[in-house]
């Protein structure tokens, strides 16, 4: 099961990103473990400069702005 972390302090875009991850996982029929990282120090430890960030299995795949749904699906699949 993939571990997906959404990095962001709880702004609207961050919540939209988390919802997108859930929706795409459901579409693909994948079970994921979704985690929201909201603590600033924790977010900073991933080395990104803009939120929301997306981390799949410990690897940063996206930083800044709402990702595209098709990209999210690709990150969840491979």
């Amino acid at each position: 099961m993939k571990n997906v972390k959404i990095l962001g302090s709880g702004c609207k875009r961050c919540m939209d990103t988390a919802a997108m991850a859930e929706a795409e996982a459901e579409k693909l029929g994948l079970a994921i473990e979704l985690e929201k990282v909201t603590d600033y120090a924790d977010i900073a430890s991933y080395g990104i400069a803009a939120t929301p960030g997306v981390v799949v299995d410990g690897k940063v795949v996206h930083a800044g702005g709402l990702p595209r749904p098709e990209d999210m699906a690709r990150w969840l699949k491979d």
Partner: protein
């Protein structure tokens, strides 16, 4: 769950460009008719020729569509341009830069890098921990909100491109100099403890392929986002501005907001600090004040203060900066803005 049918393809780029071209032609055609239409609409009302009410209504019916149309155009263009930039790329360009040139680069990038105040803390920490000097980071953080598309778009719509360009130039100058000064003070020790401890390195985010279609989409998202958020304030501001235009005698404000009243510049800056979300509504009012004898430098200083020195942003930044550092930040930026106000009033008679 209903999945989208596989046959549905995204609209082609050619189609989108054709649509954009058509929209631009329509835009120009409509824009040219605005004043005539506004005067015609007002002429249908039973108002005496040359009355205060007629003056105010003409102003309102002409300015609302004009300002909203220009704002939409500027926000769209800026949204497309910004899709070429990202905070990560900007950080890579700035890390390890020397002060001076670094401050200039940071202020310039601040204008074009997509930035939202909810991202200010991660951005600040991400910059500083990646070796962007503190003063350079501040130049970015001052320029990014101050020289934004709403401010530029509204200034352009209400006061013309010369004032908009002047605002851009002076805004960059304040960001460069204030950031440089903060850098010279070597206040790294005044950051919050946890910020100094972050040693993260920089994540390498794989490039996502961005098509022309995505960029146009980004422009449109910016329009629905930003214009959707501020349009009501703009209309409200223009309504108040229209009343001022119609009913306040010319030069009524020369004594308190004119060039002669030297104290009006610092007073305008002080007044601007608590005002934040209404920046979009304040500008049309300010434009009306200009017509009644207020000095342009005073008015520009007020706008800069409203946008660059906001209480909500300071509360957000308090998470990374000590109280002392916030005080220095506010002091340096406010001095810069006051200097701009005085300079402008002295230069443009």
């Amino acid at each position: 769950m209903t999945a989208t049918p596989a046959t549905r393809r995204p609209p082609s780029t050619a189609l989108a460009l054709a649509g954009l071209g058509l929209a631009l032609v329509l835009w120009v055609a409509i824009y040219g008719q605005l004043q005539g239409t506004a005067y015609y609409v007002v002429s249908l009302l039973p108002l005496a020729e040359g009355s205060h009410a007629q003056e105010a209504l003409r102003f309102f019916f002409y300015d609302v569509p004009k300002v909203l149309m220009l704002l939409t155009l500027v926000v769209f263009a800026m949204g497309v341009v910004r899709s070429f930039f990202s905070p990560d790329k900007t950080r890579a360009l700035l890390s390890g830069r020397h002060e001076g040139l670094g401050n200039m680069l940071a202020a310039g990038l601040g204008v074009f890098t997509p930035f939202c105040s909810c991202s200010a803390v991660p951005l600040f920490v991400g910059f500083v921990s990646a070796g962007v000097p503190l003063g350079v980071t501040f130049s970015f953080l001052i320029a990014a909100p101050m020289v934004n598309e709403v401010a530029l778009g509204l200034l352009f719509a209400l006061l013309g491109w010369k004032v908009a360009l002047t605002y851009l130039g002076f805004g960059l100058a304040v960001a460069i100099i204030a950031g440089w000064v903060i850098g010279q003070l070597h206040l790294e020790g005044w950051l919050e403890e946890w910020v100094r401890k972050v040693r993260s390195g920089t994540a390498v985010v794989p490039d996502e392929t961005v098509t022309l279609m995505d960029r146009l989409q980004a422009g449109w998202t910016a329009v629905t986002d930003i214009v959707g958020r501020v349009w009501l304030w703009v209309i409200l501001g223009i309504a108040i501005g229209a009343l001022i235009h119609g009913y306040v005698p010319a030069d009524a404000l020369a004594a308190i907001m004119g060039r002669e009243a030297w104290w009006s510049v610092p007073a305008a800056v002080l007044l601007g600090v608590p005002m934040y979300s209404n920046a979009a509504g304040i500008m049309p009012v300010v434009e009306a004040l200009l017509g009644k004898g207020a000095a342009l430098g005073t008015v520009l200083a007020f706008m800069m203060s409203v946008i660059a020195l906001s209480l909500p942003e300071m509360i957000i930044l308090r998470k990374v900066l000590s109280r002392k550092l916030i005080a220095v930040f506010v002091g340096v930026v406010a001095s810069g803005i006051i200097a701009v106000g005085f300079l402008f009033n002295a230069l443009f008679n």
